[in-house]
């Protein structure tokens, strides 16, 4: 796209095509001969990283759509079946779910890069605005995608976000009904969100083409913000930029794989492993981490309409940036004041993100208001003012001069700071439940924790026995089939043992030829039968509180880790909040209610249960279940065994995930090393 290419293919067949459709010339001029400034740093590789992520999301998304059912009654289960039964389904789902977070992480770096180096300034205004449009489309896509698993957070997130439109005067309610296709969020909403979630990525891809086109017309900006003038200022896209981008992408993939294989739920919310329930709002609704700063802005304004306007303005203001900041010097490298304000702005955004995950009360509301003012002040006061009063340092005459004068300052320290900030930003979710007045569950040493974690087969078998003899009286296990007991990575039973286990159960089947339902012995393909026919029956039999299904309980429960623990957790791969909590609740029953706590009739005191009043009576006591392998028959042992078993039911392919993760990491580290040395070799003469 840099003028007509002089590229001529030598192959006669290609020549024949080229004369009719000059596509090879276009590719050659855009991605091979295209001149890129020679002083680009690694922040510029995020463009390639984003293209890679978009491709990744589209590919994994199209595949997931082949297995997903967009129906309010089936969606949650179909997602679980993808993870459990589809070959590598767990991998594809993790890639797609973590991929969304990575996509946003990369786009934030890309946007801040643009802000810092003034990439929105003349002649790149249209390029920048196209970027803002892509970002808006990404937000819509990400939001609709989060609704599809149809968990509690999906449902309530959808309710809260669609209700934003009800703030519009006069037409608000009608618009919301139009969006829902009903009188509340329901099946029609899920259906249309699925349709749009499939469509929007292709729109994004279309705008990305325009974005790249605009980029290739104006040429890339660069860290020094001076336009390339002579040939000395540039290098050819291939091999220089290509290899550098490849190295950048492979580093990013390592970061991405850390989430896919070792902490797939780190960025998610435990509540989304509870199926959507229109009758119960989770105590604390938080959007995904990448919307948190805007959510904080929304909540910090006490008026509903004004809050919604402020939230949307916070994004729209970016589109006006080229005219708000009229400073002639592009790069903040040469703007001593603007540079400082830029970093303050970054901190403001991260703090806003932190506040977005906190309950809206007390000091958090006030801090949110102050930071909201700071956010807008940066765009509306600081930048316009600085462009008038600031004296920039002299910029180099040309890119070549800048490269020669370069003192070897490396952005690595900034990169480290940014990764830490990202982790802080992302991990704030877990913090939300910290202040609910329950004791913190004690950490237990689990055999399945860590990068090489494996389930203890003995514990799984004993846990199954505890479940069958105790828990199964009230709790279902409806996502687990008897056949799973014989699968690799599970309790290690043979197929014959699993069949024998299944045949002990009575399963309802039918109708038979007479049109009647009948009972037959279980088969390996059957799922564990639930103790109650429906939720209402379960509720009625248990004093109003339905015992939850246990298949996903260890992933659906969590507790706040609080600052700074969630940052350490990123590095230590601590992922066992759920099991710790479940084991603690099983052991947290106390006869004596501490002073100051009142427990309603029909409830029991539990030290670790939020609010302390639990409807479940103490389920386990010493010696209740007999063990054949000589393990101690104590409550502590029962709790540990059954929790291990429930961790397996929540994620039957956990061992496969960690094993494959290790292989992938070995490969990626070698590959990235090779890329690094290739890049060094290619660039040796350019520096």
């Amino acid at each position: 796209m840099s003028g007509p290419s002089d590229y001529q293919p030598s192959n006669p067949a290609l020549k024949w095509i080229e004369r009719r459709l000059p596509i090879f010339g276009l590719m050659h001029s855009s991605f091979v001969a295209y001149p890129t400034p020679r002083n680009l740093n690694y922040w510029w590789t995020f463009g390639a990283i984003l293209s890679f992520m978009l491709g990744m999301q589209i590919v994994t998304g199209v595949i997931l759509a082949m297995h997903y059912t967009p129906h309010a009654d089936l969606a949650f289960r179909s997602v679980e079946l993808i993870v459990r039964d589809v070959n590598y389904g767990w991998l594809l789902r993790n890639m797609h779910a973590c991929g969304a977070s990575m996509f946003f992480f990369a786009v934030y770096v890309h946007m801040l890069r643009g802000l810092y180096y003034g990439s929105y300034k003349e002649p790149r205004e249209v390029l920048w605005i196209l970027g803002v449009i892509i970002y808006l489309l990404m937000m819509a896509t990400g939001f609709m995608g989060y609704v599809l698993p149809w968990g509690q957070m999906s449902f309530w997130g959808a309710t809260v976000i669609t209700n934003l439109f009800s703030a519009i005067p006069y037409f608000g309610e009608s618009i919301v009904t139009l969006l829902w296709g009903g009188y509340s969020v329901g099946n029609p909403t899920l259906n249309r969100f699925f349709s749009l979630h499939y469509l929007l990525p292709f729109l994004i891809a279309g705008v990305v083409v325009l974005h790249v086109w605009a980029l290739h017309v104006a040429g890339q900006n660069n860290p020094d913000g001076v336009e390339a003038k002579t040939e000395k200022d540039t290098v050819a896209f291939t091999p220089y930029a290509t290899i550098k981008d490849l190295f950048g992408v492979s580093c990013f993939v390592i970061f991405y794989s850390w989430f896919i294989f070792y902490m797939p739920n780190y960025l998610g919310d435990a509540d989304n492993y509870i199926p959507a329930n229109p009758g119960v709002t989770p105590p604390h609704i938080v959007p995904e981490w990448y919307y948190l700063p805007f959510y904080a802005i929304l909540r910090s304004i006490p008026n509903k309409l004004a809050g919604v306007i402020a939230m949307f303005s916070a994004i729209i203001v970016l589109a006006f940036l080229p005219w708000l900041d009229s400073a002639k010097t592009r790069s903040m490298k040469y703007r001593p004041l603007a540079k400082q304000f830029f970093w303050i702005f970054v901190v403001v955004c991260i703090l806003l993100g932190y506040l977005g995950a906190q309950p809206p009360e007390g000091i958090y509301v006030i801090a949110g208001r102050v930071l909201t003012v700071c956010y807008f002040a940066y765009f509306l006061i600081v930048l316009p003012l600085l462009s008038r009063i600031e004296t920039p340092r002299p910029v180099p005459n040309s890119i070549a001069d800048a490269v020669l004068a370069k003192g070897g300052k490396v952005a690595v320290s900034i990169a480290v700071a940014l990764v830490a900030a990202g982790a802080l930003f992302a991990g704030t979710l877990g913090d939300a439940r910290a202040s609910e007045g329950s004791d913190r569950p004690p950490g237990i040493k689990w055999s399945f924790a860590g990068p090489f974690g494996k389930f203890d087969r003995g514990a799984l078998q004993r846990g199954l026995k505890v479940y069958k003899e105790v828990c199964a009286n009230c709790h279902g296990l409806s996502y687990v089939a008897f056949r799973n007991l014989a699968e690799a990575g599970g309790p290690g039973y043979s197929v014959a043992q699993a069949s024998a286990f299944a045949s002990e159960y009575k399963i309802k089947d039918g109708p038979n030829d007479q049109g009647e339902m009948f009972e037959r012995p279980g088969r390996p393909a059957d799922y564990f039968p639930s103790p109650f026919p429906n939720e209402q029956a379960a509720r009625a039999a248990n004093g109003g509180a339905a015992p939850p299904d246990l298949s996903l309980i260890t992933k659906a429960r969590s507790y706040g880790r609080g600052f700074p623990w969630f940052i350490f957790d990123f590095f230590t791969q601590y992922q066992e909040q759920g099991p710790d909590y479940v084991a603690a609740v099983l052991q947290g029953f106390e006869e004596k209610v501490p002073e100051g706590v009142t427990i309603p009739e029909g409830s029991y005191f539990n030290k670790y249960f939020p609010g302390h009043a639990i409807k479940m009576p103490k389920p386990l006591s010493d010696g209740q279940v007999t063990y054949d392998d000589g393990s101690p028959t104590t409550v502590a042992q029962y709790a540990k065994d059954v929790t291990t078993f429930l961790m397996w039911t929540a994620e039957p392919h956990m061992e496969a995930r960690k094993q494959l993760g290790f292989q992938v990491f070995v490969f990626l580290i070698i590959f990235t090393g090779l890329m690094y040395f290739t890049k060094k070799k290619v660039w040796a003469d350019a520096h």
């Binding site: 809260v160 604390h284 509903k304 309950p359």
Partner: protein
């Protein structure tokens, strides 16, 4: 003209379809099992409707307030049916962003929304927090002394 007319079906299809509208027909609720001080939650058009059997104290509290001082001024009398003051029927959807408030919680003997901290009194009126309006009263009427029809 033609263009706009063609566009209409494409927008109109997004609105609730015939079956959804049909499922939103009025429902009847029997009030006999609800004791004083208790409340029940029924679903109508996918929305939770709280039906509270208010105590004397709750009614007095709701009526003692200076109406003009409320964020969304409305008297308790206007929110219940005359002769059936003990029954409060409201749509249990927070007017802020649509969460479901919890009954019998908060500082006003009414409802408390766990999402963003809005508090409603025993008449379902907003007293504190970001919600702009009172909990809406759905269209309903008493078919007999112990039975109401919602819708």
């Amino acid at each position: 003209m033609g263009g706009v007319a063609t566009l209409w079906p494409f927008i109109s299809q997004m609105n609730p379809d015939a079956s959804t509208i049909a499922a939103g027909a009025p429902i009847e609720v029997d009030l006999t099992p609800v004791a004083e001080g208790q409340d029940i939650k029924v679903f109508w058009r996918g929305k939770p409707i709280y039906i509270s059997h208010r105590t004397k104290k709750q009614i007095e509290e709701a009526r003692a307030v200076n109406v003009a001082s409320l964020p969304d001024p409305q008297s308790d009398e206007a929110r219940v049916k005359a002769g059936h003051e003990q029954w409060l029927v409201v749509i249990g959807i927070c007017t802020h962003l649509g969460c479901i408030p919890i009954a019998h919680e908060g500082n006003y003997d009414g409802f408390f929304c766990p999402c963003h901290g809005s508090q409603y009194d025993s008449s379902g009126r907003i007293r504190q927090g970001p919600a702009p309006a009172n909990l809406p009263v759905p269209p309903y009427q008493f078919v007999s002394d112990t039975k109401i029809q919602i819708g």
